[in-house]
Amino acid sequence: MDIKYVGEHLWAGNTGNFFVVLSFCGALLSSLSYFIFSRNEVQNASWKSLGRTGYFIHASGVLGIIGTLFCMLLNHMFEFHYVWQHSNTEMPMRYILSCFWEGQEGSFLLWTFWHVVLGIILIFTSRKWEGPVMTIVALVQIFLASMLLGVYVFGYKIGSNPFLLLRTVPDFANLPFIQNANYLAKLDGRGLNPLLQNYWMTIHPPTLFLGFASTLVPFAYAIAGLWKKDFNGWMKPALPWTFFGVMILGTGILMGGAWAYEALSFGGFWAWDPVENASLVPWLTFVGSAHVMVIHRNKGQSLLVTFALTIITFILILYSTFLTRSGILGDTSVHAFTDLGMSGQLLIYLLTFLILAIVLLVINWKHFPKPETEESVWSREFWMFVGAMVLAVSAFQIIFTTSIPVINKIFDSKIAPPTNPIQHYNSFQVWVAVIVAMLIAVGQYFKFKKTDMNAFLKSISVSFIVAIILTATIAFLIDLLSVQQIPYIILLFASVFAVCANAGYFIAVLKGKVKLSGASVAHVGFGMILLGALISMSKSEVISRNTSGVDLQKLGDDFENAENIMLVKNDTLSMGGYFVTYNGKKKEGVNIFYEIDYFKKSTDGKYVKDFTLYPRVQINPRMGNVAEPDTKHYLEKDIYTHVTYAELDEEKEKKPEEYKKAKTVTLAPGDTIFGSNSIIIFEGLDKNVDKVKYNLHENDIAVAARIRVVDVKNNSFTALPVYSIQSVYAVPFEDEISELGLKFIISKLIPESGKVELEVYEKNANFREFIILKAIVFPGINILWTGCLIMIIGTVLAIRHRLKQSN
């Protein structure tokens, strides 16, 4: 029965598994040794080097796993399930990174990898904190390393191993290929999901996971602080890490938005999708924790909140991992991972750290130093604290709605998410954004401890006036003036004020000193992100309204909201100030590109080509075809174009003058049907048939169907197909409208109801190639992307400043 399989690289799997076990044991050794060392750093000093050794063993294990997996992917070793599932030989090699992290195992590896990197940096930089901090880091790594084990303990599967052989996957146990010793010779992989074959997908996941990983550092410091009862000291080294994490996680989230905007057919960069929300929520609490840490370093208050926000950020990262990987979002999200049977394990991981943190907090709470005085209402720390709380509430609202599937699971309820999620979130978050933007605007003008209100009003008044003027101008320019848009107008003012006030602070108060300007610059960036999001989301306009001459109202439904337009090859349609022509398609590899020209009418009435876009459809028979938009970028707006429907069947050799197969319809008098270039109306039966013309006998029965055809130019034609009964035989006579390439034959008469069964023939020439298109204009989206860059620059400045302070 034993089959000797040919060509399998079993050594690669064995190597990989060796590294998996190595990384797990290394983490175990490291955490334990660091734990013993931390309990008594003097007595157990030698355990420290063992802890380090353990961590290095773990690190080499992780690097070994990654190296082995890459080697397998590069050499197309399809005998391994992961390689078979996520790659194939046709795929461009530049997407190999995407293959690596397409699956859950690979993305866990990516996450683990960043923890390894951060852990090694911590070993060399955390000095007296090394013991407790690394105990926590290594403990986290034990959990992550176990996600790759793929062993069964008491019937429970622990982890999912990326080095599983294809033929040992239980689902494939009975497939015939297993009987073929030489199966590898004929095997190709399933390939990479076409949505991920995009450059954003090679940089978005590593950035996002570095962001996820960086929440571990402040968390480990916070736990270490509680453990060692040094309630304040941990913040100094944790603060630069927090800023770093805020920056990277924020960048990662926005890259995801950029990917959705560029490559997905969402029609926007943010859709409040549960997966997007799951990474936004920890970012909000992370920003909150960074700000309360700053307060605390300046004035020892709100200690509990600082701990709580730092801890909850890390827990939320674990929770979002649980949401996206347990399959629980299955019914609500577009791009959630599917269940690999690890949800129980993820839950244990989450609960372990949640309970650990809560227990430590409860034990230590009563030992927290109590501030003697409350902060003044007119102090910077008070308003920063309020801001952090607003962010926490904002995070709560998002995660609560996102967690509806979890609530259903726990309480066995049948609540569905809001039918219009964008409106649901926006109606709450617009006001959060207003408050946050206002706080950002005024925050820095308050002094720590106590502010002289006259000086405050004086210094902020210039920015306030400038902001009012700018808001009025922008609102007028983009036509944001109606009463329904008042929340947006308020948000417009708040975000403009945030930008102006922080720019003003940088110029007037800091006198342009770049070193100290981190906060101001980052806040200018954040204000611009809000501004760009507001303008592009509230003023985006679908320009592909249906303008065809055919009366669609007849179909009896609300067509005023039609957003897709049909574009016949070589026809030109007017669309939002442009004239648009579809020139045809060309196939390149797996992609079909549709060439679409945008013209503008010049003053002398000529059509001038403005630009050409190539939206495409990626053909993927295995995983489904994927349409990718193409976007023309201008400084002040983007024009997004997306093929929402196209006939993809290969055009067969069609002779234009031949009739296509008939469409058979049953019609009552007065019924209307649609031809490809006309409207066809059955007016009724006509008994006055010229029997001589059809060579009919006096006794034969003959009836004609009166058919009126109206073309797009409103010309009317009539056809009279005849149905006769000659003695006992039914003989139909066709009638043709040659101008329209139409032919009618009555195939059956239903005398009781006066209905006819009609065969409608159309010439191939009637079917011209067409595409269905959707085009949207997004104004001001570049304000958002510029804001991102400015925020990153500001955060880098802030990190540099804090690092200088802590050295």
Binding site: Q85, G327, G330, D331, T332, S333, V334, H335, A336, T338, D339, E374, E375, F385, V386, M389, A392, V393, F396, Q397, F400, T401, I404, K414, I415, A416, P417, P418, T419, N420, H424, S427, F428, V542, N546, V550, L552, L555, D557, D558, F559, N561, A562, E563, N564, I565, M566, R622, M623, G624, N625, V626, T644, Y645, F674, S676, N677, F770, I772, K774
Partner: protein, 135 residues
Amino acid sequence: MKKSHIIAIIIIAVAIGAILSTVADSSTYASFKMALENPGKEYHVVGKLEKDSALVYNPQVNANLFTFYIKDNEGTIKKVLYHGTKPQDFERSEQIVLIGKMKEEGNFQASSILMKCPSKYNDGKPELQEYKAQS
């Protein structure tokens, strides 16, 4: 009263407000029967595509109308109108979540369709693709 207490009370109030707004905005997983009893109210209906019944998308006539028949989990079959283009690989879908409301004439008007495609095309397990009608 201390300021921190005031802040805490406000936060709790807003958080309760957030919960209430979610409850108010949330929809229900329902059957066609339930949707028929409350025409005009929006529901999530889970069902399967009736592959034998007509699946009509005639872009030459109307690029923004796609009709098909869905059998819900209770076995009721209804015609569904969707004002948008026909999603890619619609016929392949294994399970469909419709978001929308029942119209008076007994057709279901979907504003959004979530499709689950069968495993052989995807990750070894069903995967989702979402399509939205214009709003």
